[in-house]
């Protein structure tokens, strides 16, 4: 059975190789090859899952040693896989959601002439992501980590003819590199202090390692997680990454890749357990991001960017839970899985809406679409109810547990974190209701040919010139797109109850991550009731603003906070002023130092050597007599020096 593990990675990797090397002759069947191999990976995962369920909880971990990668004395790196309950969860999520998104892409990318290449990249992404969660050591994990970074870069910039897409891809890659540095430094620290980077020995060694060392490694891992999971302060790339095709947003930037940071922290739980300061930093990052993403999500009129803000915020919840230690690990992963379902569903729904609306993304030009695309409306609606935590749906079970665990952290910290998590739940309800109302309810604002308001003449000038944009004809998407949405909607509705009732998920994951029951200062029921209450408040406020009043087609000026949130809370301005300007100044001063000081010394040395050379050269005057004198003098000095040495 263990020997199947490598096939999980090999199937999509083969797909990527075939599709990317195969050339044009595979254009006609490329998407089928990609989809079948992704599905094959899921089937293998399911077989392994069934096998794993048949064993006792403690015997479920499987390993496969493939080959020795760097067999140098004192530095052993293996290509080996480890499949335990945590990895299994990810394998099913990645290959399952991934396969659905492959199916969806068949319809979505139908008219794109580079569809084969797109599927090649999707397969490459799956292979890298599976490698990331299956690796049994940090070095191999790093390979997968970089692999998903590459695939993400290729997919965000897939429509490279658009400068905005090319820029977004570059931005995502650069910001991720900052996080990657964190991971590589963490691995180097592990090697320096533990002499290995395999999960088993490293995590066992944490017991007898000083807290300072663990904190250092933990903070570096957190930096890595911040990059890949778009957490503050490395969050700026996620919004722009929406330039990629929508299935990419669903697969990479909602369901799987952005959760890699959560996986990393949960996997390294033993390190964080021994480093309370690093844990606190993790919870702070999570709490700040969950508010940051939620606030940004409230202000965006672009449906995908609103969802991107939401993703950031939901992953903030997961990071927060992961930072809580054993009381939170399980819930972080549980929320990760349920989020994988409903957020992928929401993104696919958004893609479906765009598909019917001539790729329009501005929600102010939507409205009343429920009549025209009923399947999309229902599946999107179920995803919506799941994410706001409507009782009984999956988001309710997972988010409620995280809020509970945050309160259970205890002390002032617990109250602050719990309060933030609760506030986040209210804002989530608000912005998701806003998206729902602006898209599917209200008057059909797309009916009027978009007339740019005199106040903002620059809004969408393209809409005027392109006749096709004048009046879209909303319609339901083909079944290859709706079926994955329906499947994901099922997950959004039932996954939470399936996991949550009877603590099924806790028992499943406990052998790997440990679990401790948290005891919140107030009763669990109170927390649940408050969660529902703030959700209702959030929905109510949104309804008052967007359901009862007509939505203006042109965005109003808005308050200071709204304007800041539209600009992603000034994240890019901050980066520009602090990092770009600062970097430019640093570069300029270094260049100056290089030109004056370094070059000065170098050129000065060269010039003085040249001068010396010219002077010494004159000794070589061509007269044998002078040469003889020089030899005589030299011999005299030689003799004198030899005698002197003896005398000294």
């Amino acid at each position: 059975m263990e020997n199947l593990i490598a096939l999980l990675v090999a199937a999509p990797l083969l797909g990527a190789a075939v599709l990317l090397c195969g050339g044009r002759r595979l254009d006609a069947v490329g998407h089928w090859i990609g989809t079948v191999l992704a599905a094959a990976s899921f089937v293998i995962g399911a077989i392994l899952f069934a096998d794993m369920l048949g064993k006792g909880a403690e015997e479920r971990e499987m390993t496969q040693h493939l080959f020795s990668w760097v067999p140098v004395e004192g530095f052993q790196a293996d290509v080996a896989f480890q499949l335990d309950q945590l990895s299994m969860t990810f394998v099913l999520l990645i290959s399952g959601v991934g396969s659905l998104i492959h199916v969806y892409s068949i319809g979505y990318m139908e008219h794109d002439e580079r569809r084969r290449r797109f599927f090649g990249y999707l397969n490459l992404f799956l292979a890298a992501m599976l490698l990331l969660v299956l690796a049994d050591n940090y070095l191999l994990l790093y390979v997968g980590w970089e692999g998903v970074g590459l695939a993400s870069y290729l997919l965000i910039g897939f429509w490279q003819h658009k400068p905005s897409a090319a820029t977004a891809a570059k931005k995502a890659f650069l910001v991720n590199r900052v996080g990657d540095m964190g991971l590589s430094i963490a691995i180097m620290l592990m090697f320096a202090w533990f002499g290995t980077f395999a999960f088993g020995p490293v995590l066992e060694a944490t017991g007898e390692t000083s807290e300072g060392k663990l904190t250092a490694i933990g903070l570096m891992l957190l930096l890595a997680a911040c990059g890949k999971s778009a957490q503050v302060p490395l969050q700026s790339w996620l919004g722009d990454a929406m330039e990629g095709p929508t299935p990419v947003s669903a697969l990479i930037h909602a369901a799987t890749m952005v959760t890699a940071g959560v996986y990393l922290i949960v996997r390294s739980g033993a390190i964080f357990n021994g480093a309370p300061d690093a844990q606190l930093a993790v919870t702070v990052v999570g709490a700040v991001t969950l508010l940051f993403g939620a606030i940004v999500g409230c202000a965006k009129d672009d449906i995908k960017k609103a969802l991107a803000g939401s993703t950031m915020s939901q992953i903030g919840y997961m990071i927060l839970a992961a930072g809580l230690g054993p009381i939170g690990y399980v819930f972080a992963i549980m929320h990760l899985v349920t989020h994988g379902f409903f957020k992928a569903g929401l993104f696919l729904g958004a893609g479906s809406v765009m598909h019917g609306m001539n790729d329009e993304v501005d929600m102010r030009k939507y409205g009343g679409l429920r009549k025209y695309m009923p399947v999309t409306f229902v599946t999107f609606g179920l995803g919506y109810l799941a994410i706001i935590g409507f009782p009984g749906l999956s988001g309710f079970f997972s988010k409620d547990k995280i809020i509970e665990a945050a309160f259970a952290k205890g002390g002032t910290e617990g109250w602050i974190l719990g309060g933030v998590a609760l506030l986040g739940a209210a804002i989530t309800a608000y912005y998701m209701t806003r998206v729902m109302l602006m898209t599917f309810f209200g008057e059909e604002r797309w009916r009027h040919a978009p007339t740019p308001s005199p106040a903002e003449p620059s809004v969408e000038p393209a809409a005027e010139t392109h006749g096709e944009h004048a009046e879209p004809h909303p319609h339901e998407s083909p079944s290859s797109m709706t079926i994955p949405m329906i499947v994901l909607a099922f997950g959004s509705v039932f996954a939470g109850a399936f996991f949550g009732i009877g603590d099924r998920f806790i028992h499943w994951l406990e052998p790997v991550t440990d679990h401790a029951h948290g005891h919140p200062p107030v009763s669990a029921l109170t927390v649940t009731l408050s969660t529902v209450a703030v959700m209702v408040i959030g929905v109510g406020v949104a309804y008052a603003q967007y359901g009862r009043r007509p939505v203006p087609v042109a965005a109003p000026r808005g308050s200071l906070l709204t304007r800041a949130a539209r600009r992603d809370l000034l994240q890019d301005d901050f980066n520009h002023v602090v990092l770009v300007r600062g970097g430019e100044h640093l570069t300029r001063s270094l260049v100056y130092v290089d030109h004056t000081l370094v070059d000065g010394v170098v050129n000065g040395t060269a010039a003085s050597m040249g001068g010396l050379s010219g002077r010494l050269r004159r000794l070589q005057n061509g007269f044998a007599r002078s040469y003889a004198v020089s030899m005589f003098g030299g011999a005299a000095v030689l003799i004198a020096a030899t005698l002197l040495m003896r005398a000294v």
């Binding site: 050597m609 050379s613 050269r617 044998a624 040469y627 003889a628 030899m631 030299g634 011999a635 030899t642």
Partner: protein
């Protein structure tokens, strides 16, 4: 020394001389040298008896065959263990046959063989009066520009005497690093020096310059020989013997028998120190160390280029071999005295060669200064006073000699109406006109500069490593700085060849015969093989690095 011991010495001396034993000569172990010297003598006879038209072919054939045979003899001796287990002193104590001697003899013979190839090249100069000509004067004795010279050129004369002269020089060089007493050392020195003086004078083009170079070389060489001879005399006065082993014993104080006539002066340290310094000075002159280097640029520039190439390679090998043996076999007991002095010499040699080379404008002079800097690098290995020091010097000499011969062979190819175009400005843009020749020369320059993947790097690394382990860290620092300075002018030539616009009336690159091509190709192959996979040869040098005492 006790009174009875002195007495017994006196009584021994008082015994009448009974008979003189016939000297015992180990012909087998001396065969490389004997073959070459014998061939040289046959070469002289060929000059006398073979018709002029056939002499060239006879001489080239004789030289190639004798050098190849001598090389085969060296290999045979080495494989039979005469370099290691059976190493010994032969010819009544006059000559040592051991690892370093055989290694250096092999190197010299190969360098000599390539030298013969470049000497025999006859396709580079345009045909004069229907005769193919080589690099040597039609008739060396004729006054430059005179009628007799013109007549000799018209008659198609060539100086085929260069081949026996070359063989004599090689014979002397084979003996030089193997000499095991001071008289043999001096004779070997003169045997290889005198032919070289002559060879320097016989250039076909720029004859005045060639003759000037020869005169300077001869005068300064004679001057240095005088120092050497005086040093030998003082050492004899100190030790009462010219044998290396005996002198070493006297230096150590472990001597058993003393020549009674010299008992008065024996053990006088002033004699030892002054004598050793003068002897070392003579050898430093031959290797071209600062401040005894001043002949080098003038002679390298003036001598016919094939001679320069051979001389630059083989002289250095022979002289460093002799210097190593002198310092490691005769004067190890004195190393506290000579090491600081040699430190200073190595430092000024490295820096002096590298710095003055910066402003050179003639490619042959540039290579001359480069050879001075390299002498400094090799000296860094010499002062390591360890087995690693010996083997690193052996390796460096092997690597350096083939780069040098190859580089000078390339210089012979670049020609204009006046013969070889040695001024650097004429080399501008050579890489565009003849990419292959320029690339080959670039390989040699990179090897001189010590860039990795060339033999120069492996050699430099070996000597610097030995020096550092021998406690001469300061030398290594200076060596690396000098290498950096030296890299400037090597790379500058490469830049000139590849990144400058060719001049409209620039030189042409002559197509050589297979002879020169072989020499160049061999140089390139050795340079790259020793650079990419030096281990086998480092091991070989390591095995050879033990002197017999």
């Amino acid at each position: 020394m006790s009174a009875t011991a002195v007495h017994s010495l006196w009584t021994m001396a008082a015994d009448p001389i009974e008979k003189i034993d016939a000297p015992k000569i180990e012909y087998g172990q001396l065969s490389p040298t004997l073959i070459v010297i014998g061939a040289a003598i046959i070469g002289v006879l060929l000059e006398a008896f073979v018709p002029r038209k056939s002499r060239y072919y006879a001489q080239v054939f004789l030289s190639v065959v004798s050098l190849a045979a001598a090389f085969a003899a060296v290999i045979a001796l080495a494989t039979r263990g005469y370099g290691t287990t059976k190493a010994g002193i032969v010819a009544m104590g006059a000559i040592a046959v051991d690892g370093p001697a055989l290694f250096l003899q092999g190197t010299i013979l190969l360098a000599g063989l390539l030298g013969v190839f470049t000497f025999a090249e006859r396709r580079l100069d345009p045909v004069a009066h229907g005769n193919q000509v080589d690099s040597f004067a039609a008739q060396a004795a004729s006054v430059p520009g005179s009628d007799s010279e013109k007549a000799a050129v018209k008659a198609g004369f060539t100086t085929t005497e260069v081949f026996p002269l070359l063989l004599f020089a090689i014979g002397g060089m084979l003996l030089f690093p193997a000499a095991n007493d001071l008289l043999t050392l001096f004779i070997a020195l003169e045997v290889f020096s005198l032919p070289l003086y002559l060879l320097c004078a016989v250039a076909r083009r720029k004859r005045i310059m060639s003759q000037e170079a020869a005169v300077k070389y001869f005068l300064l060489g004679a001057f240095a020989s005088a120092f050497t001879l005086f040093g030998i005399a003082l050492l004899y006065g100190y030790a009462g013997s010219v044998s290396y082993a005996t002198i070493a014993q006297v230096v150590d104080g472990s001597i058993e028998n003393v020549t009674p006539a010299l008992a008065g002066t024996m053990g006088n340290d002033a004699l030892l120190l002054i004598g050793a310094a003068m002897l070392v000075m003579g050898l430093l002159f031959k290797v071209g160390a600062v401040p005894f280097h001043m002949w080098t640029p003038d002679v390298y520039q003036g001598a016919p280029t094939p001679v320069t190439g051979f001389m630059a390679a083989a002289t250095k090998v022979a002289a460093f071999g002799a210097l190593l043996r002198l310092l490691y076999v005769v004067l190890p007991g004195l190393s506290w005295d000579w090491r600081p002095v040699m430190w200073a010499v190595a430092i000024v040699t490295m820096l002096g060669g590298a710095i003055v080379a910066i402003t050179q404008t003639d490619i042959k002079r540039l290579l001359a200064y480069s050879s001075i800097a390299h002498a400094g690098f090799i000296l860094a290995g010499v002062i390591a006073t360890s087995a690693d020091g010996i083997s690193s010097v052996l390796f460096y000499l092997g690597a350096y000699s083939f780069v040098t011969i190859g580089a000078f062979a390339v210089v012979t190819l670049v020609r204009d109406a006046g013969g070889e175009a040695t001024h650097l400005s004429k080399w501008a843009g050579l890489g565009r006109r003849s990419p292959l020749v320029a690339a080959v020369f670039a390989v040699f320059l990179l090897a001189f500069a010590g860039i990795p993947l060339t033999s120069g790097f492996a050699g430099k690394f070996a000597v610097f490593k030995a020096a550092a382990e021998g406690g001469a860290g300061a030398i290594v620092v200076v060596g690396v700085i000098s290498s950096a300075i030296a890299a400037f002018f090597y790379i500058r030539v490469i830049v000139l060849m590849f990144f400058s616009e060719p001049k409209p009336e620039g030189p042409t690159v002559a197509v050589p015969s297979p002879l020169t091509m072989t020499a160049i190709a061999f140089g390139v192959v050795v340079t790259l093989v020793l650079g990419v996979a030096p281990q086998y040869f480092l091991d070989l040098a390591g095995q050879a690095g033990v002197f017999v005492r």
